[in-house]
Subunit: 191 residues, 2 copies
DNA sequence: TACGATTCGGACTATCGGTCCGCTTGACGA
DNA sequence: TCGTCAAGCGGACCGATAGTCCGAATCGTA
């Protein structure tokens, strides 16, 4: 529990690595095309530093992802309606899913990288549990939905990064188009 | 166009590899834990043979998967209702998704392996296109569903192998339980 | 400035997907 | 039955990558 004073270079390196990784993942088409060596080199840091700070590849990706997520998370946890708390479930569920979709659209590559992330399924990541909880609770307020937990899983699955990637790249849909269709679909599930 | 007669040992080896790979993937918890060397060794075959026959790792997994899929595919393409053709969409969609879910439950590890398969997203695989087409066409017959193509993507996403794996292993749900909940969910989407 | 703890960094290892090429074997005509 | 030869085989080999390790460098502090 003792809060050790962090060394200045350690903090600086941590930021450098996060920035470099973010950049590299955003550029690269395939997450697997980004190696840890590349990240280390781009950050101007040794590989040992990378692994000591983040444990392994998955840990690094999660860290970058978490940093990126901050904004949306704040909006959901303490922001104004319809995304923030205190919104009736029927209005909040569509808003939540739209926000999640928008995030994935803006961070496609990074999201794919995370879902791809080797060790364990995407469902093991903390952020999944968080999203599922929020959506589930909002769904529970809608009385036409009988099984909020399962519906939450199913709805979130509809915006999985690789599906979105497929819709955009292969089927050539625009972000707005996808948002519209998802909105309709969510409406149908809400009854 | 000259039909060369295949050599007996080639055919035998092909079967041996498929059987060995099927076995290994079924046993292993993580698909990445199964190496090509292991498959080759288990099949009593050289690595060169493996790669000549199947091109690469993804090709091998797809081949095993395709072999396993035959039964369901036949049932959907030429079987009796409610799975087979000629069934009204409103009855066929639930049957299709239940069949897909049942298959994933029976072949969890293999399905995870395929979705994991490295080169390209799961959406690139031929079998995805096939499933999507069938479900989309069935959905198109249901007049309460306005966007059959998107709904098909979303519904199929609800039975993704890693989600099912999560529900079974982490949340401890039984196969029957999942089938029940999926059935309800599909009903809601159909309106 | 001196010192000890912390952090750095890149050489090193283990493993894996995939290639290559000399050797073997099966099919078939004579 | 035997000879021929292309198809097929297999495992040594390669390049790349995630992850480890430890002597060297650096920071905070007295």
């Amino acid at each position: 529990m003792t809060e050790r004073k962090a060394r200045a270079d350690a903090a600086r390196n941590r930021e450098a690595v996060l920035a470099a990784a973010d950049e590299l993942f955003a550029r690269s088409d395939s997450p697997r095309g980004v190696s840890m060596d590349q990240v280390a080199a781009a950050a101007g840091v040794g590989k040992g530093t990378l692994f000591r700070r983040f444990g392994d590849r998955t840990g690094l990706i999660r860290a970058v992802f978490t940093a990126r997520t901050e904004t949306v998370r704040a909006a959901v946890e303490t922001g104004p309606p319809p995304l923030g708390p205190g919104t009736p479930g029927r209005d909040r569920v569509p808003a939540l899913l739209d926000a999640l979709l928008a995030f994935k659209l803006d961070n496609r590559h990074l999201s794919v990288a995370l879902e791809d992330a080797g060790s364990g399924s995407p469902y093991a990541a903390a952020h999944y549990g968080w999203w599922h909880g929020v959506v589930r609770d909002a769904l529970a307020e809608v009385d036409t939905v009988s099984d909020a937990a399962f519906a939450a899983h199913a709805l979130i699955a509809a915006v999985r990064a690789d599906l979105i990637e497929h819709l955009v790249v292969v089927e050539g849909m625009s972000g707005e188009e996808i948002r519209g269709r998802l909105g309709e679909y969510v409406g149908k599930v809400l009854g």
